[in-house]
Amino acid sequence: MDRLTLLQSATAEEGDRIRLKTKGLHNTQGWDLEGILMPHHEFSGDNVITVKLDNGYNVGIDVSDGAELEIVEKAKDPPGREASEWETDTTLDKITIISTGGTIASYVDYRTGAVNPALTAEDLVFNYPELNSMCQVDARILMSRLSEDIRPEDWMTMANEVVAAFKSGSKGVIIAHGTDTLGYTAAALSFVLDVPGPVVLVGSQRSSDRPSSDAAHNLLSATRFALEGTPGVYVVMHGETGDGPCDVMVGTKVRKMHSSRRDAFRAINSMPIATVTKDALTWIDKPNTASAEPKVIGSFEPAVDIVYAHPALDPERLKANLAGLKGCIIAGTGLGHLGTQHLKVIEDSIASGTFFCMTTQCIHGRVNMNVYSSGRDLEAIGVIPLEDMLTETALVKLMWALTSSTGTKEIMTTGLKGELAKRTLPASYPDKGAGGED
């Protein structure tokens, strides 16, 4: 029998307590199961019904060969949460927590079995009650996006929200964000915002529906920095695989360096400026940033791209991809190189008005286009080397610079928010560890 027909004829809905009688694939005697009807998993067999038994297990039973299904009890509304009332200590500083989505602000949707980005402001305090003794929490849901779905216009929405938060008297602002593109957003907000206090981007690498999640530790540490940190845009995330102090990293110098580890975020070509826990902030290199009136400066040009240099890159395809771009970052090989067969394509593109900058796909280190002829040739036709700037930061900065009345080249080559450093310290390149930090 068809699963949907069976469910429809019994008017059974997810969450109903049902009794299911069927042979399934293996049971010649026939199953006679009672339990809660679970949502159909996208990878489940078409005619498999998943039932949550009283022992807590979900089991999938195939109803292709016919089945009887009756509703024992209609679904109850999920049990109400304990009244989420908390007393606010008005002597504490106010911190605004802006939720944009992602793992840190997510919960398991037990109806679909997926981790969903949706959490109310009350949920935040309910889940992390320690917040309430640290600050007055001003939580708001700005959007519910997985970070791969964040678009440049979302950066503007966030920036405006940050300005509003500071204007309403918040000491610092926390943005809960999915980790995939958290680095891009951190860079974008760095350029587009002037702020009187800390703006802290925070995420979590292990979903907050598991007891081992890094969400609480990251969020509470971010709160400490939002209370005591310097003005500017920063990322606060786990500094190690264990729940030791979090690293505080400058928003333009930080990159997600691992797909899954808690300590995925690393300061690149630089060092964390501080370590922080729920209880204490320890400076390593305190930034000398001044407090500024909160405002949004400029916006972002979306017609940009990154060209990743590689041996199979085809000049014709490259040419097609560059059409219509206002700006382009070349993530070059080594010191900042692109195969000589592409020189003409780049030169033509520059002539048609596309602005080109060079970063290195090595991630670590600085471009230097004087050492080899390919670099010299690229620089000669107008490709601008961006020193030790991260490729992703360069892309975001270029988007921002292209909307400015000031010359793009001048903006790109001038350090504004810590994105360019004249010196690379040896300690900024990680040692090869045997496995962990001990």
Partner: protein, 649 residues
């Protein structure tokens, strides 16, 4: 009617057994190591479960706010550290579990969903254990009758505990993720002895697959016990088969005592609410007992501790041993007079969880340095009458207060009789309170894994390749190899049939049987460390025996010598065997014996030798060497052969 029938004993088993394959959700080998490691520390927070509540056991643990230290060994990857999502499930583990299901007559589900079972004692880096219900039903037979199987699950093992105290715990990550089956029976077991038989039968069935791990820690048995009027109590981690009946009996007796206490409280008209009301009547006795001669109390006072006391209305005589009366021999009533204490240990266990080392209750005082005068004073201060009991706790203020709350809560539970809870076995086969019974709210779907279809083709493939069960093995050993019934039984049920089957592929099964059942134990009796005698090592020995390097009579001595050599260097059995043969003088054959063999061979081919002369040396080496292999040096044989041929021609 036997005593077990009288008390309505019901026992169910839950058996965990590691599978012989790589880890369940990553490609790491399932090996335990004692090598070096590095460490990291984490905390766990309970999550709201699928049904919106936090499981009772989980929140109990969370109240402790413990820090967990993990030892990361070189053999683990990011999955064990919870630094990477699980990889797709190990298909071999699924197949082994399906095989077990078919052997039990269990019915597999059509689609396997892994769940997250919340466990926040730190033993899982994730804070949950991944487990999937694979099959229902089936049974195993015992001499006392069949025991039905309720469920068969495939799950990941937890990390190994290294050390633990009140606020921290250290775990080693080598064990986490090893696949194991969890097999639960219905409470069909009605005597302590049957519990052992059922555990044994299930263990034999699992071993028959040859795909389960063996040795310490690879098998864990949880025993669920209840008697009529009692409740299901889970006794965790019973290691030894032989202790199962003793633990079951002790638990039945404990439940009987608690039911007696509950009845007595009812008679005395004590309600739960009345007991709980004492939370407001905890009296600080620190000043009053400041000069006590009790060392236990003084120690607490010296460490800035306090002494708290609480009255328990109507509890007199229900905490200590029962005295008086005339028990009927053989009847369950006699259990009340077996010298065991009634409620005292139960209350103390709950208090200990809060961090106290113990407590004093009125039924055991005066004693332990507490004088009769002090007891009278305490009774006065707590307003105890002759019928009332009291409890004293001495510790730092926080712990003492928490412990006293636990004392009152546990005392109130006594009104209900037996408490459904998880207990751990102690060396004397009694048990100790571990934690409350976990509720059903502790499971939610593992969203990082897709459901896995267990289709008919897969089941058919498993059915076509089912392993032989032990009973069938015995029959086959007798008919196929001509072993005696006794030897076959011994090999299969109490020895090492895997070793027998592996060695019998290349060696005479009867010789293999003697090796395993007699010669190895003879060597052990001579003091040899027979752990060295693995299948591989015995293969080397039996190969040498097959090549007549020594006589059968010499095997026990060879094994003794071999084990001694391998005590020094366990890596090379071949070399160890050669050295042993040399040392035992089994290789020495003198020249005259060699010449005798040569001459025999020469006589057989006299014409050929005369015709070929020295050219006959080559063709003759083979047969001569064949007869003397291992007992004489090849060069020597060649030299003597040359000499004899030249003398002949």
């Amino acid at each position: 009617m036997g005593v077990w029938e009288q008390v309505g004993l019901k026992v169910g088993l839950e058996i965990h057994r590691q599978l012989q394959t790589h880890k369940l959700f990553c490609s790491c080998e399932s090996v335990l190591t004692e090598t070096d490691h590095w460490t990291f520390s984490r905390h766990l927070r309970p999550t709201r479960s699928e049904l919106g509540s936090i499981d009772q056991a989980a929140s109990e643990e969370a109240k402790l706010k413990r820090e967990f230290t993990y030892q990361a060994t070189p053999d683990i990857c990011l999955v064990e550290m919870d630094e990477e999502p699980p990889h797709p499930v190990n298909q071999e583990a699924v197949d082994i579990t399906l095989t077990i299901a078919r052997l039990l007559g269990s019915i597999p589900v059509d689609e396997l969903s892994f769940m997250r079972k919340i466990v926040i004692d730190g033993s899982n880096t994730t804070g949950f254990q991944r487990t999937g219900l694979m099959a229902f039903g089936g049974k195993v037979d015992t001499p006392q009758g069949p025991v039905r199987v309720s469920t068969l699950c495939l799950e990941e093992d937890a990390a190994r505990i290294v050390e633990t105290d009140h606020s921290t715990a250290t775990y080693r990550l080598d064990r986490i993720g090893i696949p194991e089956v969890e097999l639960a029976t219905e409470p069909d077991i009605h005597t302590p002895e049957q519990a052992k038989e059922a555990a044994r039968a299930l263990g034999d069935l699992l071993r028959a697959t040859r795909k389960v791990r063996r040795g310490l820690g690879t098998i864990r048995q949880d025993v669920n016990v209840s008697i009529a009027g009692g409740k299901r109590v889970e006794i965790k981690l019973v290691q030894d088969l032989n202790s199962i009946p003793l633990i079951v009996e002790e638990e039945a007796r404990r439940q009987y005592r608690l039911i007696h206490v509950a009845k007595e409280l009812e008679t005395r008209g004590i309600t739960k609410e009345e007991v709980l009301a004492h939370k407001d009547n905890i009296i600080d006795l620190t000043e009053d007992l400041s000069n006590t001669s009790s060392k236990v109390l003084q120690r607490a006072l010296n460490n800035n501790g306090i002494i708290l006391g609480v009255k328990l209305d109507g509890f007199a005589g229900l905490m200590g041993q029962k005295g008086g009366g005339s028990p009927v021999e053989g009847a369950p009533e006699s259990w009340l007079y077996d010298g065991k204490r009634l409620l005292g240990p139960e209350i103390a266990d709950y208090a200990k969880v809060k961090g106290v080392k113990g407590l004093f209750h009125s039924d055991e005082l005066p004693a332990y340095g507490v004088t009769p005068a002090e007891v009278d004073m305490v009774k006065g201060l707590l307003s105890c009458t002759h019928d009332d009991g009291f409890v004293l706790v001495a510790e730092s203020p926080d712990i003492a207060t928490a412990a006293m709350d636990a004392v009152i809560e546990r005392s109130a539970m006594a009104v209900d009789g037996v408490v459904a809870e998880v207990r751990k076995p102690l060396p004397d086969n009694s048990t100790q309170y571990l934690r409350p019974m976990p509720g059903a709210a502790r499971m939610y779907p593992e969203t990082d894994l897709k459901p896995l279809e267990l289709d008919r083709d897969r089941a058919a493939q498993i059915d076509g390749d089912l392993p032989e069960l032990f009973g069938a093995k015995v029959v086959r050993y007798v008919s196929e190899f001509g072993l005696s019934q006794e030897s076959a039984n011994q090999l299969v049920f109490s020895s090492d049939f895997e070793m027998f089957e592996d060695l019998s592929k290349d060696h005479d099964p009867k010789v293999v049987t003697t090796t395993i059942l007699s010669w190895t134990s003879e060597a052990a009796n001579e003091g040899a460390n027979t752990d060295h005698l693995t299948t591989d090592t015995l293969d080397v020995v039996l190969t040498a025996l097959d090549e007549s390097k020594f006589a059968k009579e010499a095997v026990p001595n060879v094994l003794v010598g071999l084990c001694k050599k391998m005590d020094e260097d366990p890596t090379d059995p071949t070399q160890a065997l050669e050295a042993t043969i040399n040392e035992l003088g089994l290789e020495t054959v003198d020249d005259s014996e060699i010449i005798a063999v040569i001459d025999e061979e020469l006589q057989k081919r006299l014409d050929f030798v005369k015709e070929q002369g020295m050219r006959a040396i080559g063709p003759l080496m083979g047969p001569v060497m064949g007869r003397l292999r291992g007992k004489a040096d090849g060069k020597k044989i060649s030299q003597l052969l040359k000499q004899r041929i030249s003398e002949l021609t």
